[in-house]
Subunit: 126 residues, 2 copies
DNA sequence: TAATTGTTATACTATTAATATAACAGATAA
DNA sequence: TTATCTGTTATATTAATAGTATAACAATTA
């Protein structure tokens, strides 16, 4: 599980970190129960601050991706990630809608959009 | 063309404004060449500051959705919105990828995801 | 001449992102 | 016992962004 950060990006560091861990779980590079580095170890490894890693971990915990034991450390949720519920579908729609609106304006067909999504799904099913 | 803002939202006001104008173009509620309110008029109408509207307009201009004539006002691009190019496809992928990664983690199948996209596309082709 | 247009400039408040230290409490290893 | 490591909490600072508030400018139009 490699993590690469773009410190010049407009995307906050903690968001990049969150998304890469989520991608790692989706690609099964990270398995349920598997340990993640401590906040201090990962911060040192990535050359960033302890609190930036902690912010990413706290949000991942809040969303059910990981568990944090006070003295044992951080692990990928052994029970798996909570399944999509109605709230998640609503939030997902709200995130995708502006992307589709812009695509429609720019002449992207539904088939082209679906093909792009298909290719991205394939990245997670290797 | 109705615009509704959620001043409590974490989404910046100028972003909400941008997205609703883009959605208006996608739904053909706004046609090429059609005039938009002046920055002052729209700001007064929405109860927000002139500069917030101006920021949205400037970004829409930068991305080719609208034209701004110094004394004539603001119009939807009469030549239509620039078609998707390689850069746009790359940016679109980067925005969709984390959404798909999270969906995969939460047990959403590709078919379910595609169906959601299909329904959203349908909103723009009524 | 007066009003309206986009534009620019300055200033201020509030929030967020990121960093820097420091300390605490509980568990574990020497 | 002591030292170390864990997540956690607290405080402080810097930088950037979002939003607002005025004010003024230049060009067009009524």
């Amino acid at each position: 599980m490699f993590i690469t950060l773009d410190l010049e990006s407009e995307e906050p560091i903690y968001t990049q970190l969150k998304n890469q861990i989520i991608a790692g779980i989706a690609k099964k590079e990270l398995s349920p129960g598997e340990a993640l580095p401590s906040v201090r170890a990962l911060a040192a490894d990535l050359g960033i601050n302890l609190h930036t890693v902690n912010k990413a971990y706290q949000q991942l915990k809040q969303e059910g991706f990981i568990l944090i034991h006070r003295q044992k450390g951080v692990v990928i949720n052994p029970d798996g990630v909570p399944k999509a519920d109605a709230v998640y579908w609503t939030e997902l729609s709200a995130k995708i809608r502006p992307l589709i609106a812009e695509s429609v304006c720019k002449g992207v067909s539904e088939a082209e959009f679906q093909e792009l999504c298909h290719q991205i799904f394939a990245e997670f099913y290797q």
